[in-house]
């Protein structure tokens, strides 16, 4: 991975493509009979995908020995936050009609909304402290500890998804297993004695 800058541009463009397609389809009214629901579902799914990609970076790095992947992590995390914010916006806009007062009892009354709100709120401090400056200000170790909140966020996001489906839990369970693997991998590598070279492939 010689050219990280170029790789970042590729990831950035590809991360925005779903949003562009979603907006284009909404504009052309090609999203089915319930466009609002479609926008909510799609942004929610994108949030979960980007959260999963973010926590996949460390295992992928270690398994494949491609350390430069870490340079993409911040962008992926910020896209998770971005799509999460859009998802929340569609809910506040379409479901609550911008009636912010009604959001509070709704969050308490509907456990799946509580889980989703938790997942989002946990991302807020991470997005705020995502700059290089903030890493320096907090100090690497404290920053890293704070950013472990992403584990809780992705778990809450999967629970949120799992709680809202009626009976077909295959998709939320798939996300659940992926996240379980990604987080479990961390535990395993933490408590297992480090091998001289943990990667499957020799580093370049």
């Amino acid at each position: 991975m010689a050219d990280v800058r170029f790789l970042k541009v590729v990831v950035f463009v590809n991360s925005l493509i779903p949003l562009v397609l979603l907006l284009w389809d909404l504009y052309r009214e090609r999203v089915g009979p319930n466009p609002l629901q479609f926008a909510t579902t799609t942004t929610g799914m994108l949030t979960l995908i980007f959260l999963s990609l973010t926590v996949a970076i460390t295992p992928l790095r270690k398994i494949f020995g491609v350390n430069s992947l870490v340079k993409l992590r911040r962008m992926l995390g910020l896209f998770a936050f971005f799509y999460g914010a859009l998802h929340l916006l569609t809910y506040i806009w379409f479901d609550r009609g911008f009636n912010l007062i009604s959001v509070v009892p709704d969050v308490v009354k509907r456990p799946f909304i509580l889980a989703g709100m938790t997942a989002f709120l946990l991302m807020v401090p991470l997005a705020i402290t995502s700059t290089n400056k903030m890493v320096k200000r907090l100090g690497g170790k404290r920053w890293a500890n704070l950013h472990r909140l992403v584990y809780l966020s992705v778990i809450a996001a999967v629970v949120h998804f799992w709680m809202l489906v009626k009976s077909d839990t295959r998709l939320p369970l798939t996300f659940g297993f992926i996240v379980l693997f990604l987080l479990g991998y961390r535990l395993l590598t933490k408590y297992m004695p480090a091998e001289p070279n943990t990667s499957l492939f020799p580093r370049e």
């Binding site: 541009v9 590809n14 397609l21 089915g32 009979p33 319930n34 009976s167 295959r170």
Partner: protein, 321 residues
Amino acid sequence: MAENSDKVTDKEVYLNRRRFIQAAVMAGTATATTLIYRRLNPPPAPVVEGDKLAEVAKAPTAEAVKEGFAVNDQVTPLEAITNYNNFYEFDTSKSGVAYAAKGFVTRPWAVSVEGLVNKPKVFDLDELLKFPLEERIYRLRCVEGWSMVIPWVGFPLNKLLEKVEPTSEARYVAFQTLLDPERMPNQRTGVLDWPYVEGLRLDEAMHPLTIMATGMYDETLPPQDGAPIRLVVPWKYGFKSIKSVVKITLVAGEPPTTWNIQAPDEYGFYSNVNPNVPHPRWSQATERRIGEYSRRNTLLFNGYGEQVAHLYQGMDLVKNY
């Protein structure tokens, strides 16, 4: 000099080559992302014209509205009704049912009416289509919090039940959907207990608002909406209105119902539309009418209280959800 220029690539050429590869990578990944997105989010299925149903009786509006046979709300477009379906026998995504149900074969088809009746009978579909057909413009409220207004075509269930003469022991009516994983491919999965079963109390089944629908918009039912014949009970959540019915059984006790088996604390036998009884995971106070942008208040008995409230007099609607 000539040797040197052979070995070292010219800087200009190197940069051009690099730019070319970068452009190819960008275009390739962007195309792949677009294709994946399109694959996961296909456009709505085109509307397939059904056969025209002859001689559909349409009551004068004022009279129909008074009896609950029609509502003045704007009718939901056919494209929406046929692209937003909960029909787990085909697919668990609402937009996927239209595709998965395409080409569903509904002939031959028969409905067996049996159980506690004097004259059990297997009705062929052609026989059922000979019942005098009426148009009924009903609200449909899904338990998920959305609603539509659908111009059904069908006949009252009581007309069918009268023919088989329920005995005095018959208190409930049980319904069953076709069980055929060949034609209903999602029955190969375990997302629900197959076949789908539903039930009504006999007085609910005999109520004039309860119909067997064989069409909508003056045409035969599209596969995704329960072809060729389905139940419609407008004051209950949509899942009570069982689709693609093959068996109707008159019974003495409350029959099992699919969603109640799936999650007893979330879906009761009665499942009357009730804004005051929330689903354990979400509120039922409001609904999104398909085609509208703000939410409407949900009405008790889906707005059919005048016609049906007497059926539940003295009953605790919170306990009997």
